[in-house]
């Protein structure tokens, strides 16, 4: 098997598709590219494809990572060109590397992409509804707080999550045109993480951040392991 890691985007055109749909989009793109993709066994074979971390519906990204396997060796430029040409609007292939086979003597397998990711950086753009100074105070108060809980309710879960444990750096803020821009660096761990949108809701509700929260636009700008972009780990 020949394994590749791709650095790809999720653009404005497909901002509102789910992670599962995004995976389907990539699977079909690999098929259109006519790459000799490796398939899972069984009566419903799927392309062997793995993603680093699910991206929420409504969030775009400059740094998504996907590992996929092929049954025949092809040179990197050919794989790059074929896949690039087959991508739909909203996905761009930025970088592509072959993941070398681990040395058999070490008896190790490839580490799953999902297990390599440790942090993700985000930018949030949201209309400011009050004064800049109020925003600064709100963010500072959050950054200083020893802990800050969010209540996560989904059809499957209903729990309290302490957010500060995941904040690798203080939240930063600046203005980008008319919009307030927030920067977050969030840890992704085996035991869990927190979403940037959840932090924003918390900032608004508990720290009086004066923003029009439903209008937020979120972008993932990096995904890293050991402080490096996931593709640089290859």
């Amino acid at each position: 098997m020949y394994k590749y890691r791709a650095e790809i985007t999720k653009g404005e055109e497909i901002r509102y598709i789910s992670h599962l749909d995004y995976a389907g989009v990539m699977e079909r793109a690999i098929r259109r590219a006519k790459l000799p993709a490796a398939y899972s066994e069984g009566f419903n074979p799927h392309i062997k494809i793995a993603f680093a971390s699910a991206l929420s519906l409504g969030v775009i990204s400059d740094a998504e990572y996907m590992d996929f396997e092929m049954t025949k060796p092809l040179c990197q430029p050919e794989v790059f060109d074929r896949l690039s040409k087959a991508l739909p609007p909203g996905v761009k292939l930025l970088r592509l590397k072959e993941v070398p086979e681990p040395k058999p003597c070490k008896g190790k397998k490839h580490k799953a992409l999902m297990a390599e990711v440790q942090e993700a950086e985000y930018e949030l753009y949201v209309p400011l509804t009050g004064y800049w100074q109020e925003a600064v105070q709100a963010v500072e108060a959050y950054n200083k707080a020893p802990e800050a809980m969010v209540h996560r309710v989904t059809p499957k879960t209903n729990k309290m999550i302490e957010t500060k444990q995941y904040m690798l750096k203080p939240v930063k803020l600046s203005m980008a045109g008319d919009l307030l821009k927030l920067y977050m660096d969030i840890a992704i761990t085996q035991s869990g993480s927190v979403k940037p949108g959840e932090i924003l809701k918390l900032l608004q509700a508990e720290y009086n951040l004066p923003v029009d929260e439903p209008k937020v636009l979120i972008k993932r700008i990096s995904m890293k392991g050991q402080g490096r972009a996931l593709i640089d780990l290859v």
């Binding site: 259109r32 739909p88 439903p214 209008k215």
Partner: protein
């Protein structure tokens, strides 16, 4: 006006990708430099609309023309509609996001009667007057097509014109006429274009006709009111399926849709002659694509989409004359690409089972058969041409191949049906369940019987038959439920309330438009969705309009009566339909003209068409 949806809107609705477009293979043309703008609509939610094969074809046919920009629009789901109404966002297209009102044409694909309320709702959301008589020079022309054109009268007053039959050629002729009218400076305005269109074969302009009613208020006659209008409009059909344009680059949705796979259309028409079936009369005669053309199309479709599933669609796919060879060829063409194939409809015989086994390989998801009626007598009445032995042989073969789920489709309320026929459904299902035990020596099969309520449809031999009253459907449903003793048999039945309304609208006349309008005004929409169907609203609408619904659904028509749908015809003669009704009552069978003798239905002579069956051609 170009509509831009704010993030706060998209983040507030379910499945926002229904409204954001930008799919692969969507066609974007420059608005200003393209003279004809054609919006194609399916009046249901995106996932349903995107699954419609007819619209996929017309989208490519229209966009192949340099002078035409064809764009898509579907019904916004109720959450989105609420926001659009609050913020006064008009209905928009998914390519250029132009307001629908700015298009030259808005075409609706009309798949079934209970979708009409959504047509009205979409017109209203677009800011286009609901009634055709209220439209002005700047409004789009509203055009209807699809299976419902074989009785357009209940919606005739909402549409400017209809395309009757298969649209690939006629829709282009329509645009040609529009272009010359446009370039001539739009002489005589809207009326001018409609007059020019009315002379085309297959175009029906309802406003060019006068309808009369008798003393009881029942439909009496419809007559042309201007020289351009033809007394009878025959459907259009494609004579050579190989040369007509088919889908090659379908718009690829980003989200899961109802039929999220390639649809390869093997042929049109089905001449098995089931007497309840409107598709069986309206798509005649059978016209196959050649095996080579299908292979070529399959390759193009896989390459342009990346799908790994392909459905070989037709009214009765197992009847494709070269099916065995086609399947072998497709298997070998796509063996390295892990493409799976499926047949949406199975014939009740072991050929179909072997084929299904081959196609599904290991995955035994469940087989569906449609015996339609519970006793041989009633199956003969409907000319189903399937015996109990056929069903037993087919299910036996299926159980031997490892299937343990069988779904059986039946209808209730067919002409001449007695309680014995109802009990027969239960008996037949139980016999299938016991067959499993006999074949495998074990229990563990599930036989699901799905029973719909029969709705008599125009242009079928049962078009004169009075539909059962709602209470009688309920009684027969209970009778069937009580007749099932085997635990392996599961019973699903349809909502009789919807069927009786469908029964009234399907054979309605122009007076029904008022009822549809009233029901929509009072909140009816997405009537095909169980949880949104508002039965009371519809019955109140009939009452408010002073129209007795039973005169439409339960009343048996007289053979000599002129029916409100005879002027838009698939070409099947009234004599043939009457002859078939008579044979039904006498429990006599009629052969499939494709293999047996011609039943003189009238389609081939009236449309100058002929059966295209490649096995026969090659002999």
């Amino acid at each position: 006006m170009i509509i831009k949806l704010e993030p706060e809107i998209l983040q507030a609705v379910e499945k926002p990708a229904r409204y954001t477009g930008h799919e692969l293979n969507a066609v974007h043309k420059d608005w200003e430099s393209t003279p004809c703008h054609f919006a194609l609509a399916l009046p249901d939610v995106y996932e349903v609309g995107m699954s419609n094969l007819g619209l996929k074809i017309l989208y490519e046919v229209l966009n192949a023309r340099e002078d035409t920009a064809c764009e898509r629009v579907y019904a916004p789901w109720i959450d989105m509609e609420e926001i659009m109404r609050q913020r006064q966002i008009p209905l928009f297209s998914l390519e250029s996001f132009h307001a629908i009102k700015e298009f030259d044409f808005l075409g609706f694909s009309l798949q079934y009667e209970m979708i009409y309320s959504n047509v009205l709702n979409m017109l209203d959301l677009a800011g286009i007057p609901i009634w055709s008589r209220d439209r002005g020079e700047n409004d789009p022309f509203i055009v209807g097509g699809g299976p419902c054109v074989y009785n357009t009268e209940p919606i005739a007053d909402f549409f400017d014109f209809f395309i009757v039959g298969e649209g690939e050629e006629l829709i282009c002729e329509t645009v040609d006429v529009f272009r010359s009218w446009q370039e001539a400076g739009k002489p005589e305005g809207r009326q001018g274009l409609l007059k020019r269109l009315a002379v085309l074969d297959g175009i029906y302009v309802p406003s060019f006709y006068n309808v009369t009613y008798n003393q009881q208020g029942l439909f009496a006659d419809i007559e042309p009111a201007c020289p351009e209008a033809k007394p009878v409009i025959y459907k259009r059909l494609i004579k050579d399926m190989d040369s007509v344009r088919f889908v090659e680059k379908p718009v690829l949705p980003y989200i899961d849709i109802v039929h999220d796979r390639i649809m390869l259309e093997l042929f049109r028409g089905c001449t098995r002659g089931c007497r309840f079936c409107q598709a069986g009369t309206s798509y005649r005669p059978v016209r196959e694509r050649s095996k080579d053309r299908l292979r070529e199309l399959a390759r193009k479709l896989i390459d342009s989409t990346g799908y790994n599933e392909m459905s070989l669609t037709s009214l009765s796919s197992a009847d494709y004359s070269c099916l065995g060879e086609l399947v072998d060829d497709l298997f070998s063409d796509f063996k390295d690409e892990k493409v799976s194939f499926s047949l949406p409809s199975l014939r009740i015989d072991s050929f179909s089972i072997d084929l299904a086994h081959k196609m599904q390989q290991v995955r035994k998801s469940g087989l569906t058969f449609a015996p339609e009626a519970g006793t041989q007598r009633l199956r003969d009445v409907i000319n189903k041409g399937v015996t109990e032995e056929n069903l037993m042989a087919a299910t036996e073969a299926a159980f031997r191949q490892g299937w343990k789920q069988v779904k059986l489709y039946f209808m209730m309320g067919l002409p001449t049906e007695t309680d014995e026929d109802i009990v027969g459904i239960a008996k037949l299902a139980e016999k299938v369940a016991r067959k499993y035990k006999e074949v495998t020596g074990r229990w563990g099969v599930t036989v699901t019987i799905s029973v719909s309520c029969f709705v008599p449809k125009p242009h079928t031999p049962f078009q004169w038959y009075g539909q059962l009253p709602e209470a009688e459907f309920h009684r027969r449903q209970r009778l069937l439920k009580d007749s099932i003793t085997e635990r392996a048999v599961k019973f699903n039945y349809h909502d009789a309330r919807v069927s009786v309304l469908e029964g009234a609208i399907a054979r309605g006349d122009r007076k029904i438009a008022q009822v549809i309008y009233q029901a929509w005004k009072d909140g009816a929409k997405f009537d095909g969705w169980n949880d949104l169907f508002k039965n009371d609203v519809w019955h109140e609408a009939f009452a408010k309009c002073g129209i007795d619904l039973h005169l439409y659904n339960e009343r048996a028509r007289e053979p000599e009566e002129k029916l409100p749908w005879e002027h838009t015809t698939p070409g099947v003669s009234k004599e043939f339909l009457l002859r078939e009704y008579d044979k039904a009552i006498k429990e006599q069978l009629t052969e499939d003209c494709r293999r047996g003798k011609c039943s003189a239905c009238g389609v081939c002579p009236s449309l100058k068409a002929k059966v295209v069956d490649w096995r026969r051609e090659n002999v």
